[in-house]
């Protein structure tokens, strides 16, 4: 590595990091928040064994898990306009990542819900709580604790997965790196640089995950 390469890397560092904060992180956070809502609702429908809705939930999970994210991105961004539905790049990406993570997290949440002993629901009902009140105050918090590590892994996976949004013109970190690489011909070093930035993001999240787990474990551990 010579002085010229070093200058390019220093110069491009902020240029890549800024879309990290303005695109990659918002895309991840918004998509994941929506995914969690989808996951909880989908998991609850299955846990409660509601006819019809349960079949719809299974169908949704089957479709999403059986097809590549990249293809889903293309269907929404390049495919839908041909049948008259235009969605901008960023909301398209949010939609696809939310639906995608939602399906995987729904499975995580469902098995976490099922791991809560049936006696917890019965005790809730016998204490004068409704099914939904027991779900909200007793079952979901316990399930969430069980699901926290796998959900954190999903979040870390999503940060990296957002790089696929560059394929549908979202100017996130990877897209910006590609442009700089095309201009400067220093592809090797620049892709290493963006990889390093993803690594930093993931490391911070892993650290936060560990802190979160410690907090959850610091009280009321189940015997």
């Amino acid at each position: 590595m010579n002085q010229q390469v070093w200058d390019i890397l220093v110069d491009s560092f902020m240029k890549i990091l800024i879309p990290g904060f303005t695109m990659t992180i918002p895309l991840t956070v918004i998509s994941f928040a929506l995914a969690l809502i989808i996951a909880v609702i989908t998991a609850m429908i299955q846990y409660a064994d509601i006819p019809v809705l349960k079949q719809i939930a299974r169908f949704y999970i089957w479709i999403i898990r059986g097809t590549p994210v990249l293809v889903q991105l293309y269907v929404v961004f390049f495919g839908l306009p041909s049948i008259g539905i235009m969605i901008d790049a960023f909301p398209s990406a949010v939609m696809v990542f939310a639906l995608n993570e939602g399906a995987y997290c729904a499975e995580t949440m469902r098995s976490a819900l099922e791991s809560v002993p049936a006696g917890q629901m019965e005790a809730g009902l016998c204490s004068g709580l409704s099914w939904f009140q027991t779900m909200w105050h007793i079952i979901l918090p316990q399930a969430f604790r069980t699901a926290f590590p796998p959900l954190s892994n999903s979040l870390i996976g999503l940060v990296k997965e957002t790089s696929l949004a560059s394929n549908i013109t979202v100017t996130e970190m990877f897209m910006v790196t590609q442009r700089i690489a095309g201009r400067t011909y220093k592809a090797f070093w620049l892709y290493l640089e963006v990889a390093l930035i993803y690594l930093i993001f993931s490391t911070v999240l892993t650290w936060l995950q560990r802190r979160g787990e410690d907090r959850l474990n610091s009280y009321g551990v189940r015997r």
């Binding site: 005790a123 009902l125 016998c126 204490s127 004068g128 409704s130 009321g220 015997r223």
Partner: protein, 250 residues
Amino acid sequence: MAMLEIRGIRKKFDTLDVLNGVDLSVERGDVVAILGPSGSGKTTLLRCINYLETADEGEMIFDNESYDLANASAQKMMELRKKTGFVFQNYNLFFNKTALQNVTIGLTVGRKIPKEEAEETGRKMLEKVGMGDRCDYYPSQLSGGQQQRVAIARALASNPEIIYFDEPTSALDPELIGEVLAVMRQLAKEGRTMIVVTHEMSFARDVSNKVIFMENGVIVEQGSSAEFFEHPKKERTREFLRMEDNRTGE
């Protein structure tokens, strides 16, 4: 008029007949002990009359209100459960709640009672079962006997018309049984109406005023506690009592 009147409960699990027409009548202030060998349907009976299980047939009159045990709306089930308490064999305390929260959540969330008022009641109930100094402990930090006492406080909190106990001491180590029985004895003394499924013969003999002996999903014999233990009518009852005497004698 009896406070609780159960008529003709039948319940099948697949092809297994578990309850074959049980009738039962409970007066206000009664402490009814239900005895019977394992698998006779005692737990199923308690679960059916609180809608944790749906019976195939059966009717119940409780507090001048009629309930179809084979078919009821969620509304109706809630309404019934708000007037009853249930103590489980394995406590079933909410793992994510402290002892105090376990006791108050049915009041604050279930019955919309203001938090301060609910906490006052909650502390009083925990005090009553001798757990006043453990309000902020989580279930995992309590012994089995302590957990069961919190569970009793939880069942008491809403001042229910009746409390059902399903073998409240059989998951406990022998040295912890006494503290739970003492609490239940106190409740009986205060005139609480209770139905208690139990293997504790001393409790049935000394605390309850009515005893019911079940086998194969029917009531074999019932009577006042004195009558039941002193002059059992059926040979099957005598045999059961002899066996229990031997078991506890060892």
